[in-house]
Symmetry: C2
Subunit: 330 residues, 2 copies
DNA sequence: CAATATCGCTTAACCGGTTAAGTAAACAAA
DNA sequence: TTTGTTTACTTAACCGGTTAAGCGATATTG
């Protein structure tokens, strides 16, 4: 079933059929009678346009590329979910690829997307993504999600890392904690830096001196031993620890287990505060304070920003949408 | 940069350029000199074919559609990861969509994929997927992952639900358990039925009568209260319970928390056995026996099966690949 | 030396849409 | 009656690839 099939079956031209079926029948003054014939024929024969042909012709594919670090990490798969849902609801289809945080792979996947003529790309960029300029100079539309690349003009959707961290740590202080550790990873990433800044500012505003022994960066979160060594060292050096601020949810469970194994029960997480959450925290650590990122919003806004850029071209350089976290202070 | 651009720049025809760049230069006896000129020009000007045009012309898009229930559930996102990785490695791009287990939405997403001319679809089908016949009769290639539709001829990749369950429950029996509960959900799904069959067979082979009070189906896994009510009732009716077989990993954490809250520590999960795992089980329940599905394999085999069907058409009707689980008996 | 084969390309149709430009017929106004 | 306008279309080019068929020039063969 193609336009030509319909055209020859009804004895009209391809153009007529195309206009009728793309809703331009009236403006191109096709008679009501012909429009009816075409529409009915298309409906009864279940015609649907070949989107490849349409995309080729229009130079727009109604397709976006989503390039994330990983799909096994619930954080990224939630972004994927949000992006897919939003895109779907506005008639776009998502092509998905994972970079595994490998900058070269990322660059090559961007190429693939380009050749497939996606209308734009949403990505959680890796450090030092050097393909960005080439892509945008060639007219590619791009939106960063979760993290911006410092010094870049690309529109992005991020959360208020500094402010939310500040509020989490301030809350711990208000509850009476004064020896609050900060447990982090990949502390050079722009988001982690901002969270650390919030931690530091909260302590300073409360007149508590920042003790660098309390700030712990663990190189590999997925190496349980590394996490435990860091925790052991922390507890040895600061035995009167009374609070922990986790810059990321992935550090919480390994810590929980390590404490539980040593008989130091985390008391439902009172005295703990964490950036972002996992479903199991509700039941495992009901008293932990959490700054919850709305990933649903993050993804949806990223799509909106991208589509605005694609369809209207009205996104100004340097646009950054900053979402606030939902504060669950306990 | 298009074929025509190269052609006119070098004073040759589009056909020549197309043949050279698609590797048919020798078989179409284009002179080495011309081939070199074309290839060098293409390389220095960074030419890459427009995949929309190529797909339209070839009638093959090197694109597959992945239609899963959800992206927030780690099980499905792992399938997505595996499929994306495998597809990528063989030069295919994945379009992704989520049905949220809604059969109508599923059908409409299949339509979308069709119009976009994917070469085939991999899906974890919902119950009563009535679009299947229409899709395959129209020449669509399809592979089911994780669950087959009973009575359907569609190639599928599944795991040995019955056998692995049998081995898990047998292992608990060997360790001395005799009052083993089966905790399940959605027990009418084909996979769940098979797991239940394995449980029953293990008990029968050991000469233990099947006690229906021990078999518990919880309607909504995400409703913590429902899970807890079922557990309370179970413990009331069978206080001397000494083992639990979970037909799915999602039931484990709610149970863990409920037990922990009542001071019944699960002792690292000794006496528990579970179908499939979550990363946190390693640290939370190190003694639980697990039949671990290799989702990496599941996804990869699904892609392989689909590509075989697309590229060679040599997949016979009713092909079912059954993967064995990795048994982690403790 | 004419007939044939081989080489190295080109031409043009096709995939299935979109759309600018053109045209024949009907009707209205001068 | 001639000119102009509107109506309701058609023609044909284009998007950027692929590929069957054709064609002139040189090389080989009888």
């Amino acid at each position: 079933m193609s336009l030509s099939d319909i055209a020859s079956a009804l004895g009209v031209s391809k153009a007529t059929v195309s206009w009728v079926l793309s809703g331009k029948g009236d403006s191109r003054r096709i008679s009501q009678a012909t429009q009816k014939r075409v529409k009915e024929y298309a409906a009864t024969h279940n015609y649907h346009p070949n989107m490849l042909a349409r995309s080729l012709s229009l130079g727009r594919s109604k397709t976006i590329g989503l390039l994330i670090s990983s799909l096994s990490d619930p954080f990224y798969s939630s972004i994927a979910k949000a992006v897919v849902n939003r895109a779907e609801s506005v008639g776009y289809t998502v092509m998905i690829a994972t970079s595994e945080s490998d900058c070269n792979k990322e660059a090559s996947l961007v190429e693939t997307f380009s050749h497939r003529k996606v209308d734009g790309i949403i990505t959680t960029p890796t450090e030092g993504a050097d393909w960005v300029d080439g892509f945008t100079n060639a007219g590619g539309r791009l939106v960063f999600a979760d993290r911006a690349v410092p010094g870049s003009d690309i529109p992005s959707v991020v959360v208020d890392n500094e402010q939310s961290s500040y509020r989490l740590v301030s809350h711990l202080i208000e509850k009476g904690c004064s020896k609050i550790a900060m447990f982090t990873t990949a502390h050079n990433l722009v988001n982690m830096k901002a969270r650390q800044a919030g931690y530091v500012r909260a302590l300073e505003d409360a007149g508590i001196p920042v003790d660098t022994r309390l700030i712990r960066d663990v190189a590999s979160v997925y190496n349980q031993k590394m996490v435990e060594d860091e925790l052991d060292d922390l507890l040895r050096q600061v035995p009167d620890l009374d609070g922990i601020f986790f810059t990321t949810h992935v550090l919480v469970l390994p810590t929980y287990v390590h404490f539980a194994n040593r008989g130091i029960m985390p008391q439902g997480g009172a005295g703990w505060a964490c950036f972002h959450s996992l479903p199991e925290f509700d039941i495992l650590l009901p008293k932990m304070s959490i700054a919850r990122m709305s990933i649903e919003q993050l993804g949806a806004r990223a799509v909106d920003l991208l589509l605005e850029s694609i369809e209207n071209g009205t996104v100004s350089l340097g646009t950054t949408v900053t979402l606030s976290c939902e504060m669950m202070l306990k």
